[in-house]
């Protein structure tokens, strides 16, 4: 399919804006644009067709089942899209006076209160723009907390699990901390003995996902919390897997001091092909003074933005936060109310049902009941038939399913991480299980059909190694190279974690 730049014709116009009868000033020559930008020149009907055509080459939760582990791909209610477009939300300027933004501030305050209740903690900041920014903010809070106690220089290490999302160690570095990694034990829990060796008075805190990225609830979480609190360190909860435990078990009750919540996972903000997201953090009262500004506070019947927090770490993003994300997530929470528990129960039921249907056909590294997701391994398929997790993933596309997350977590070889979410019907789960079982049979009978998969997508498997080597990251107009004419290098694929 052509790029929009390749459909461009000089002199063709899309939209036009008002041109009032006013005279523009002369821009000094050294500041004036010397060469017009080569933006596309198309009429509006062709622009719409271009993007409609692109959409038909994409797959969303609206298109079909999307069991991408750790990403919680659940239905995105359309009423929320209508509500976020109300002019009172959509056309509101962030510097509008507080008395003229009361509805927006009340919505934010109500969302804060809901997230506090679900987390079992005390104070909330809606500011972080995504989970990874929530992580970084949480680590900044730890630094501020220890600085206040005169311990910031001493406490220089954060512990993460070997099953952690890549964001955890990356955030540790960006926050200026050292990293220590704790192993996973034979049942898929944090290895408590190893943890005792790692934690001492230099430890600032732990970052942990619970249930873990293996989809398992850590059976020793109380002991883990006691180890950290025993040396005066803090516990950070990566909320990527909160969809498993809403109303069932709360991070604050587990002993965590700081939690981030991925609004685009648990609370259904559509992910838009990569974002936006939302990563509010909720904290124990001892950490509240350090939260980013602004916070929304309620005084009598009036809501206002509170910037007067002398110990705050400061601002982590512009203005008042990704408000449209708040509208959708607040609407989602109001749709369920206390029935959020049923949401999580159903997510866990769906996952365990799929696990029950698949565990005899694939390797199961930890034979336990799962929470909202589970991790299988294609280890045996690889050993016996040369079929990898990538091959299984690509073949699933021919059955019209989005593949699971693959090669993550790193502790499981040939990992397939499957998260069905609560919004899927049993028929869908059965159809997916049937496809996964059919693929196991195909691996023995006709492995070539897996190696060549997918067969029914707009493109075959793509040469990722060439993409990285050539690094063609924009259209080059008349100098654009023709990569199809260049020799290929093996292997084509990176076999790297995808998803989560």
């Amino acid at each position: 399919m052509k790029l929009i730049f390749e459909k461009s014709q000089p002199g063709r116009r899309g939209g036009e804006l008002p041109k009032p009868d006013v005279q523009a000033p002369v821009v000094p020559a050294e500041l004036r644009r010397s060469k017009p930008p080569r933006l596309p020149e198309l009429a509006e009907p062709e622009i719409l067709r271009h993007f409609t055509q692109l959409s038909t080459r994409n797959f969303g939760i609206d298109t079909g089942f999307y069991p991408l582990g750790s990403c919680t791909m659940k239905y995105n209610p359309r009423v929320n899209e209508r509500l976020v477009a109300l002019p009172g939300f959509r056309d509101l300027h962030p510097y509008q006076d507080e008395e003229a933004s009361q509805g927006a501030l009340e919505l934010m305050w109500r969302l804060q209160e809901s997230l506090i209740e679900v987390s079992g903690l005390h104070a909330c900041s809606l500011q972080p723009a995504a989970g990874s920014q929530g992580e970084l903010t949480g680590l900044m809070l730890m630094r501020a907390y220890f600085a206040d106690r005169g311990e910031a220089d001493r406490r220089d290490t954060i512990v993460t699990a070997d099953t952690a999302h890549g964001t955890n160690p990356a955030s540790v570095t960006m926050a200026g901390y050292k990293l220590a990694k704790v192993r996973t034990d034979a049942r898929g829990n944090v290895d408590v003995e190893h943890l005792r060796e790692l934690v001492d008075d230099r430890t600032a805190g732990l970052m942990l996902t619970n249930p873990s990225t293996l989809g398992l609830f850590d059976e020793h979480i109380e002991e883990v919390a006691a180890i950290f609190h025993g040396v005066g360190a803090l516990l950070y909860y990566d909320g990527a897997n909160l969809n498993a435990v809403c109303g069932i078990s709360r991070p604050g009750d587990m002993g965590f001091d700081i939690v981030h919540i991925n609004l685009h996972k648990t609370f259904s903000q559509p992910h838009g092909g990569g974002g936006p997201g939302g990563g509010p953090i909720v904290v124990r009262d001892t950490l509240e003074p350090y939260l980013p500004v602004p916070a929304v506070v309620k005084e009598g019947d009036v809501f206002r933005l509170d910037f007067d927090r002398p110990k705050s770490i400061g601002k982590v993003r512009g203005y008042t936060g990704p408000f449209g994300v708040f509208v959708r997530s607040y609407a989602y929470i109001r749709s369920y109310g206390p029935r959020l528990r049923e949401m999580s129960e159903t997510a866990v039921l769906n996952a365990n049902y799929l696990l029950a249907r698949l565990k005899d056909a694939y390797d199961l590294p930890f034979d336990r009941l799962c929470m909202h997701e589970f991790v299988l391994s294609a280890r045996t398929l690889k050993r016996e038939h040369g079929i990898t997790a990538t091959d299984v993933a690509k073949r699933l596309m021919d059955y019209r399913f989005h593949p699971p997350t693959v090669y993550f977590p790193l502790v499981v070889p040939e990992a397939l991480m499957i998260e069905p979410t609560e919004t899927e019907a049993k028929e869908t789960l059965d159809a997916f299980a049937d496809a996964m079982l059919a693929i196991v049979r195909e691996a023995a009978d006709d492995p070539g059909v897996l190696k060549d998969a997918p067969h029914a997508r707009p493109v075959n498997r793509l040469d990722e190694v060439r993409a990285a080597k050539r690094a063609i990251v924009k259209y080059g107009f008349e100098e654009h190279p023709d990569v199809s004419q260049e020799p290929s290098a093996e292997p084509r694929q990176l076999g790297a974690p995808t998803g989560a």
């Binding site: 399919m1 596309p40 509101l92 926050a175 078990s249 936006p276 369920y336 949401m343 049902y353 009941l369």
Partner: protein
């Protein structure tokens, strides 16, 4: 209201297949003391109609720019968003997709991001753009992180005439990066290149906004040259909407160009979600934060797109990654691409000229009415600072009583400008609207 599909019979069959007798049993790994033993204290569930009414009531308590003649800007602008943007963003295949980790399932969004990267590079004169950052403030922090690793230098210079929101966020991030922040003051609304050069002696980068926060056109090529002479990477914080009339930062020697994309194709939305853009020269490509889409071919030699240079990123490089970012603002960046395609090069230039022309008209009308411009000598783009003869806050209150929001009170960020408003004028305002502004400020 819920969005669950299972019937009672489904549940029974599924529990039987799992081999447990109840849903509670599925949670047996959770220690007994940690099982939440009451109902969540949340307001009762609402059906779609009741939910809509509740949110409509909240929305109605906000005074948005369709209900009040607004001249607010200061980084978030009321530009027109064409209907085609809404239409494309509501395509479920794009709206409800996750990150394109599986390229064969995601050619639509991958190609769109590649086109977005091309448009951003074309406008800024850079070689590479990422797929977006969170907003116009966090991309400034990202630029500092790139510059720190590229130069090993311990400081970052930010001009005082850069949006205070950007400066505040950079300050929050800096300690973790091990960077000290130095601000260079403005002189009558502009940054002095010599002062900038002296401040940049051991700086990793210099961030300057152009047009700056006051709307004034900086001597951008001189600022970039001053930074380069001091060995610092010049980083221009720019408005995409200005780049039809103003020179591309790449053409005057900048190493990176960053900014807030809201003005190009996104609604104000009480500050988000929007998108930040970050583009750079080729030499920084392997230090870029976030996702980048690259072109390649499939097994049949057909052109396609994938996430590329992923060994920079957290899911592979982990603690050695160039950033922790994963979720970004792709959908909003797509809005930017649709908008820029709709405007085209001519439309973008006309838009810039319209904003500048309306600004000239407004400044003249205000001067004629007896007001004093804060920086009368300066050429401005779509905002300007005007002294209103009393506290800016009071002037806002009085004008709002007449249905006009006259702009942002600068005293909040700049102590010497307590009596000054920052007035933003986009193509959505007409000369008659400007006349109403003058009237409201005069009578108030």
């Amino acid at each position: 209201m819920s969005y669950l599909s299972l019937t009672e019979r489904d549940r029974e069959e599924m529990l039987a297949a799992i081999g447990v007798s109840s849903v509670e049993e599925l949670f047996r790994d959770i220690p007994a003391g940690l099982r939440f033993d009451r109902e969540l204290a949340l307001d009762p569930a609402l059906g779609e109609q009741e939910l809509s009414r509740h949110l409509e009531e909240l929305a109605a308590r906000n005074v948005d720019t369709s209900r009040e003649l607004s001249f607010l800007g200061a980084g978030i602008y009321d530009h027109y968003v064409p209907a085609i943007v809404d239409a494309v963003l509501q395509r479920g295949e794009l709206l409800t997709a996750y990150t394109p980790y599986q390229p064969e399932m995601s050619q639509g969004i991958l190609q769109a991001i590649f086109e977005y990267q091309t448009a951003v590079c074309e406008l800024t004169g850079m070689d590479v753009s990422n797929a977006s950052g969170y907003d116009g403030t966090t991309v400034a922090a990202d630029a500092c992180y790139v510059a720190k690793h590229a130069t090993g230098r311990p400081r970052v210079v930010v001009t005082e005439a850069t949006n205070p929101q950007v400066r505040q966020v950079v300050k929050t991030y800096a300690p973790g990066f091990g960077l000290e922040i130095v601000e260079v003051p403005h002189r009558d609304g502009l940054t002095n290149p010599d002062e900038l050069r002296r401040a940049a002696e051991d700086a990793a980068c210099v961030i300057f906004q152009h047009p700056n926060f006051f709307g004034c056109l900086e001597a951008a090529p001189d600022l970039a040259a001053a930074a380069t002479e001091a060995g610092a990477i010049p980083v221009a914080h720019v408005d995409l909407v200005s780049l039809g009339v103003l020179e591309a930062p790449g053409a005057y020697g900048c190493g990176m160009a960053i900014g807030e994309g809201q003005s190009a194709g996104n609604y104000q939305s009480f500050a988000g979600p929007h998108y930040g853009f970050l583009a750079a020269r080729n030499e920084f490509i392997r230090r870029m934060p976030g996702r980048i889409v690259g072109e390649t071919v499939d097994t049949a030699g057909k052109r396609g797109y994938v996430l590329t240079l992923q060994t920079r990123e957290q899911h592979i490089r982990r603690e050695k990654a160039t950033s922790n970012i994963t979720t970004n603002q792709t959908l909003l960046a797509l809005a930017g691409l649709v908008y820029l395609s709709w405007l085209g090069p001519e439309g973008l230039r006309e838009l810039g000229e319209t904003c500048m022309g309306l600004g000239v008209y407004a400044k003249q009308r205000l001067v004629d009415a007896g007001f004093e411009l804060a920086f009368p000598e300066r050429t401005t783009f779509k905002e300007f600072a005007v002294r209103v003869g009393r506290s800016g806050q009071e002037a806002v209150r009085a004008a709002r009583a007449q249905g006009v929001h006259p702009g942002y009170a600068l005293g909040r960020d700049y102590p010497g400008l307590d009596d000054t408003l920052l007035v933003a004028i986009t193509e959505r305002r007409s000369p008659a609207d400007v006349d109403r502004l003058v009237e409201a400020l005069t009578q108030a």
